[in-house]
Amino acid sequence: MQSIESRLVAVGVLFGTTASLFASEGGDQPTLFTGDLGNILWSLLTFFVVLVVLGKFAWRPILSALQKREDFIRDSLAHAKHDRDEAERRLKEYSDKIVAARSEATAIVEEGRRDAEVVKRRLEEESKAEAKANLERAKREIVIATDTAIKELYTLSGKLATELAGRILRKELNPHEHERLITESINELQEIEAS
């Protein structure tokens, strides 16, 4: 770059020398370097007119639009970042909540299962105890019924014995008769017992 510039400078100096040579020739025929203060003044004037007029009517609106757009994009990016961070924070919060809720639900189900187990066991024990009680009661009733039957049997035997004694008293008993009566009575007793 530097060497190109120095080369250009050298070319410029060369051109400048030739220009002064041509200029000293004079005449109306222009040269590559024809020009004077008028060109400088016109160039500066036109350039400054453009600078001022466009500065006011073109560059100001464009610059303000560019600045506004830059600010808008920067703000939008900042907002987007903020919103994303917020969303990520919420997401984390809700995932934590979901995890917590899930473990809570598991705990509840576990507790329910445990309670059900307890209830089941209690019910089983209760029903077993009831069954046992029922059995006991039934046995007791059987005993009572047996006692009652025996009592009735005794009463009946007594009655029969009394009746038998009356019959014996009314008759003279021989040994055969005696034996027959006893057998008869026992049979009768047995019949009664069988009935």
Binding site: L32, T34, W42, T46, A58, L66, Q67
Partner: protein
């Protein structure tokens, strides 16, 4: 006869400044006021005025073209407004901000103006106005030989004036933003060579602006001369070789000229860009002075003071 035809087809005619009217200003006879006169009207001056009129009439109109509707559309250019705003945004974000940092918006109007001024003058120079306007010019200035046309940036006085504006911007803003620090930054190195370095630095600043002058001038002249030389082959071959050869050569010349013309359109943009870019760079060198030298630079980097480049000041 042959000589007359050659003279009429002098390819340099297209790049010369043809002065139509001069005014007597002073008795001094020097390079600025030859015979005490200055040019008042010339083909280049008129081209500059046309460029100014176009710039002033067109750009403000396009600058205001916005899509409207909601908050986003209000910030969006429409139609040709896109063309100008894209260029402006490019210069602001990509060219100026890395160089000027926080000072970008103070200089951006100057940068935009320089670019579009040079661009319009360059592009207007590509229009073949001369043959169309020759009669008109002759009716006003009967002794004129040449119509309106040509590239005013192919005039070293014009490019020199623009480069002088750059030089003034550089020096003025160097003092404005750095005060005596601007003078001090020329004096570098040990005390016994500092004056020599300062002298070279000052010469360098002027030489850079002179290089701006010559670069734009030479590039614009070269393209026009090249095109004119190519075109002159047609008349030369007609005179020398006859109609048949001239037709064949003409076809080739026209095709090649079209290609070069397209190249010239590119060069018009490129040179406007280079002038503007270097102007920005020179202003940046004067306004954003680095107090670090090579050793201190590394030292600063070691200690984590990375923000030594103005680019770091950009809010991206």
């Amino acid at each position: 006869m042959n000589f007359v035809a050659l003279a009429a087809a002098n390819p340099m005619d297209h790049v010369y400044q043809w002065v139509y009217q001069r005014a007597h200003l002073t008795d001094a006879n020097n390079v600025f006021t030859p015979n005490g006169q200055i040019s008042v009207v010339s083909n280049h001056i008129i081209m500059q005025i046309i460029a100014v009129l176009l710039l002033v009439l067109l750009i403000p109109r396009f600058a205001r073209m916005r899509a409207s509707g909601d908050s986003v559309k209000d910030l969006t250019p429409r139609g040709l407004g896109n063309f100008f705003e894209a260029i402006c945004a490019y210069f602001r974000d990509t060219v100026a901000r890395p160089i000027l940092g926080e000072h970008t918006d103070q200089f951006i109007t100057y940068i935009w103006t320089a670019f579009f001024y040079i661009l319009f003058v360059n592009l207007l120079g590509l229009l073949p106005l001369e043959p169309i306007t020759r009669g008109l010019v002759k009716s006003v200035y009967p002794h004129a030989h040449h119509g309106i046309g040509g590239s005013a940036t192919g005039n070293i006085w014009v490019t020199g004036s623009l480069a002088a504006c750059t030089l003034i911007m550089v020096v003025f803003n160097g003092f404005r933003y750095n005060g005596m620090g601007y003078v001090k930054h020329f004096f570098q190195g040990p005390i016994y060579i500092a004056p020599l370095i300062a002298f070279l630095e000052v010469v360098g600043v002027v030489a850079k602006c002179f290089a701006l002058t010559v670069r734009l001038f030479a590039n614009m002249v070269a393209g026009h001369v090249l095109l004119a030389v190519l075109m002159s082959f047609i008349s030369l071959s007609y005179t020398g070789l006859g109609a048949g050869a001239a037709t064949g050569i003409g076809i080739v010349v026209v095709l090649v000229s079209v290609a070069f013309y397209l190249l010239e359109i590119f060069v018009a943009f490129l040179q406007a860009f280079i002038f503007t870019f270097l102007t920005t760079l020179f202003i940046g060198q004067a306004v954003v002075i680095h107090h670090e030298h090579e050793g201190e630079h590394e030292h600063a980097r070691e200690h984590g003071h990375g923000a030594v480049e103005p680019a770091h000041a950009a809010p991206h």
